[in-house]
Amino acid sequence: MTLDASFTARRSEVFDVSIDIDVARGTTTALLGPNGSGKSTIVSVLAGLLAIEDGHIRIGDKLVDAPSEGVFVPVAQRHVGVVFQDYLLFDKMNVLENIAFGPRAAGRVASDAKEIAQGLMEQFGLDSLADLHPPQLSGGQAQQVALARALAISPSLLLLDEPLAALDVATRSRFRRSLAEHLDSFDGARLLITHDAADAFLLAEQIVVLEHGRVIQAGSAEEIRRHPATPYVAALSGRNLLQATNTGGVLAVDGSDQLLQTWDTAASGAVLVSIPPSAIAVYTEQPHGSPRNTWATTVSAIEPLGDTSRVYVGAPLELSADLTPGAIASLRLEPGSSVWVSIKATEIDVSQA
């Protein structure tokens, strides 16, 4: 195990975090939770900015925090690469200096540090940005610089705190894909902290779902999708993910002859399609208007999820839609009902596969 953390930490009198996570070398684990679930506390703890109350944290074969043994390795000696939510690039330094900062701080001579930084910039395709300062960068470029800066210290653990949250929806898919590539090329343990289920399901092998400072479910993406432990997890994992081919805005979904229309033509060829369950409307009769993205199907199952119920529909496309129990009652839906589903083209998120 490259990260072995089992601890209790306290941010305030009323809020503590108690979790147990293991991340293997060369794998990515996503810590998925809503705001206030304790994600940022965990980032602080692992980075060494906050001491734990109880338990232990081991990174690689090095014990970095263990109150019972009186061990605490301070932040500057942890070698945990952190990509912060808003990147926290150093505005007074250019891109090259930002990336070279870690090696310089570690005592390397300027020329060595520069060489390391240049290698990373080449790898990230950032060569042309070397002399720019962070305020001149786009959000995506800033994210890449932040990642390169974190990797420049050859960390034994890479922490990514909401790395895509600062990007707008249009560029998020693109950078998610490039992030996936860069993560693959880093052979240490990767911990991705996110509130966005798409990030977790698309970037991580293992998912740990966090709520109120506690782990409520952990497992592979598939396990969590199949058996959501709580309505929150169900809501997170209910997002419909489909593999498809995009040809000029027409999506041919793999294993189905149903075509979907999208406005997003930026990603073409093999794409990943994501449709939130709330974006799917269910009717008992063929709806008027929008002829596209509308088809007839049957209800295969209905699962109550607290405030809403999840309605699963079958061929030609297996999808889940979230409806209120009132709507289900008035539509008289039950397994086997014949229905029409409709999806707004703008609600279909397409990213390069």
């Binding site: 932040v75 500057a76 800066r149």
Partner: protein, 268 residues
């Protein structure tokens, strides 16, 4: 494309506030007009090239720059300690540091004399050990200037450090940077507008320093007599000279404050 026109929607300000503001402004402007009115324009060149004024300018330039330098070298680390390290008596120390801002400078000068005078608690052993006596030397002027000016730098820089949210500093620490490196390469550049403002304030305060200097360093042309001291002495003997030197101080301070206004009031 049509050009967008910007409409200003500024309201007429309330009369009572305008009146009070005008009175307040007059309080600053009228004395300056008085000074200009009394300025002996025809003698100005002669006065500025007199030995007394040239000596005073030299002393003022040397001592104000030296004390601004000392303020930075000593004051910035103090500001960092006050803003970043929790220790017993920190609040008391902070109050002590700002005391010279509110104290009559003469009191500060007397205190300096009791500390660093040749019979002072530090001055006497220093005299015995090295034969160095601080009062009545240019060093005493620099010390007195620093004493009254450093609080302005410390308060400005400490305020700026405390208002940094610390996240950039934390980010630098995760990259392996020591506290000193974080301070030098991250925090200091981030607060540089405030640092600049603090230096200018401290320098301007030293330039205008009178009370602590006259008490601690005395006044001797060419050795300790800075411009404000020259003004005070000239008031007794040659009022034209006093007005001319005052005008010089006003113009220099004003130019510096205006030149730094943008970096200071808009960016800090």
């Amino acid at each position: 494309m049509t050009r967008s026109t910007r409409r200003t929607i500024q309201q007429r300000p309330p009369a009572a506030i305008v009146v009070a503001g005008c009175v307040a402004s007059a309080l600053f402007v009228v004395p300056l007009l008085g000074l200009l009115w009394r300025t002996p324009w025809s003698r100005l060149i002669d006065l500025y090239t007199s030995d007394i004024v040239l000596d005073a300018i030299r002393i003022s330039v040397i001592t104000s720059i030296a004390s601004a330098f000392l303020c930075v070298v000593l004051g910035v680390p103090l500001a960092w300690l006050l803003s970043r390290v929790e220790f017993r008596g920190r609040d008391i120390l902070r109050a002590l540091v700002t005391l010279p801002m509110v104290l009559p400078p003469v009191v500060g000068g007397a205190a300096l004399l009791f500390a660093f005078g040749r019979r002072g608690i530090v001055g006497e052993p220093l005299d015995a050990a090295t034969g160095f006596v601080l009062p009545f030397s240019i060093w005493a002027v620099i010390v007195a200037n620093t004493f009254v000016a450093m609080p302005f730098l410390v308060v400005t820089v400490e305020g700026a450090l405390r208002s940094l949210d610390g996240r950039h500093e934390a980010a630098a620490a995760t990259l392996g940077a020591s506290q000193l490196t974080v301070f030098r390469r991250i925090a200091l550049p981030m607060i540089s507008p405030s640092l600049r403002a603090g230096v200018v304030l401290a320098w301007a305060r030293s330039l205008g320093e009178f009370g602590a200097t006259i008490t601690f360093a005395g006044s001797l042309q060419g050795r300790t007599q800075s411009l404000p001291l020259a003004v005070f002495v000239a008031l007794e003997s040659d009022r034209d000279a006093a007005v001319a030197i005052s005008l010089l101080l006003v113009v220099v301070s004003f130019v510096v404050l205006v030149a730094f206004r943008d970096r200071w009031w808009t960016r800090v």
